[in-house]
Amino acid sequence: MKLFDFGLVFSQIPKLLEYLPVTLELALVSMLAGTLLGLLLAIMRMKKVRVLSQIAGFYISLVRGTPILVQLYIAYFGIPMLIKWINLKTGSNYVPANIPGFVYAVTALAINQSAFDSEIIRASLQSVDRGQIEAASSIGMTYFQTLRRIILPEALTVALPGLGNSFIGVIKGTSLAFTCAVVEITARGQILAGRNYRYFEVYVSLAIIYWVITIIIEQLIRLFERKTRIPDQVEQYQPENLKTGEAAV
């Protein structure tokens, strides 16, 4: 028996990739939910409504101050208890066992994501020049119109590197989803290794997969950054119908 089965590292990758959709789904759903919740939290903190901003501050501190592993376990054990309590209080009859582990994992990952994303988003929102917000107000745009059309597009440019980082973070965070009985690539790897005791090989395979995913995401972010950048040079505007032939100065 070989000490290190080099061939296995690559040959078992297809078996692991069967569960890649689960990993990506976990990451995408958590990221999306986390970013939206993060945006809400960021606005709560910025709007300086006393109670709301305190709640947001407390939430962010609590979530950032506890490990993701602990949060996953709390979600896994806490949500069924919450449901049982609701059953007890309202006489309803929900069965916690029917809830797939995916829901617990996504809940925990999204909550974790939201706390980190909200700070990235808050910093990016605050980086938008006040003058432009005033200009938007002065032409009679509502706050939500201003947010959607002026603030968010500009903030996105600033937030993109941070959010990209955070997305890479959550992809790797999904490797802990086995705690909620979700089988994604890491859990799949552990099951495979349990059969042939090739644990080292499987973790090397997993490392390669995660790294390649991250490289792809880095490239996508770079592409998106290039797309949203203001071009260095622009051609002069040519009116379609030169009515009078009068040259614009």
């Binding site: 003058g131 432009q132 200009a135 009679g140 745009m141 002026i150 622009v234 505007y237 614009a248 100065v249």
Partner: protein, 252 residues
């Protein structure tokens, strides 16, 4: 007619405007002059509700609005009927010149994109910026940016145009092109309030000049009255300082 009554604003204990009242006739071009920190900008910002005054009302088309109340509908009504041109242009940096002018037409006037585009192009043409329609603010000089900003404000056909030191952030050689545009706009019958330190320009463009000092209107009259025959001691002092540079040092 637009009427502003009993407008007061203090930042903490610093009283910037105190019981200012002003009646603006249709087509008036009012030049506001005065020393720094006397509330000239604050006056405009209060009218536009970028600053909430401690008290004061604004009457526009017979509708009287309490400026202090922060009522959302009233605020939008005022802002949709007034345009503001800022000292630092404040163009939307992620939008082209054309998109900057279109923005209000799309979101506030709810025009269709093609209509908004045509209207915006006409406004850009008025300020001589058609050729730069596809350029972003970073590509434009200060003077060009300010001309686009004027087009953006005018696109919404404001009843009252507020110009807050529109040339103060410009290089001296770019001041001329912006003043030329403002002069043209004034000639087209827009009602405007112009805060400026360009005394000669204020004198030539406005048909009424107001001198603000320590939050009060201390002088109010035609440019000829205010500049040539000021009644108030503060006005005389201010104007003599202003024109000291244009006077020769020695007269032989």
């Amino acid at each position: 007619m637009i009427r502003i009554e009993h407008l007061s604003k203090a930042f903490q204990k610093n009283v910037v405007l105190e019981d200012v009242s002003l009646e603006i006739e249709q087509g008036n071009v009012i030049g506001v002059i005065g020393p720094s920190g006397t509330g000239k900008s604050t006056l405009l910002r209060c009218i536009n509700q970028l600053e909430i005054p401690d008290q004061g009302t604004l009457t526009l088309d017979g509708r009287t609005i309490d400026l202090h109340r922060k009522n959302k509908q009233d605020m939008l009504y005022i802002r949709r009927n007034t345009g503001m041109v800022f000292q630092k242009f404040n163009l939307f940096e992620k939008k082209t010149a054309l998109e900057n002018v279109m923005e209000g037409l799309l979101t506030v006037h709810k025009l269709k994109p093609e209509e908004a585009r045509q209207a915006a192009l006409e406004e850009l043409d008025r300020v001589g910026m058609t050729a730069w329609a596809n350029h972003y603010p970073v590509h434009l000089s200060g003077g060009q940016q300010q001309r686009v900003a004027i087009a953006r404000a005018l696109a919404l056909k404001p009843r009252l145009l507020l110009l807050d030191e529109p040339t103060s952030a410009l290089d001296p050689e770019l001041v001329g092109e912006v003043l030329e545009v403002i002069r043209k706009v004034a000639g087209q019958g827009y009602t405007m309030i112009l805060v400026s330190h360009e005394m000669a320009f204020v004198q030539s463009i406005s048909n009424r000049v107001i001198f603000l000092d320590k939050g009060h209107i201390v002088e109010d009259g035609t440019p000829a009255q205010v500049f040539s025959n000021p009644q108030n001691e503060r006005t005389r002092e201010f104007l003599s300082k202003m024109f000291i540079l244009t006077q020769p040092e020695f007269i032989i």
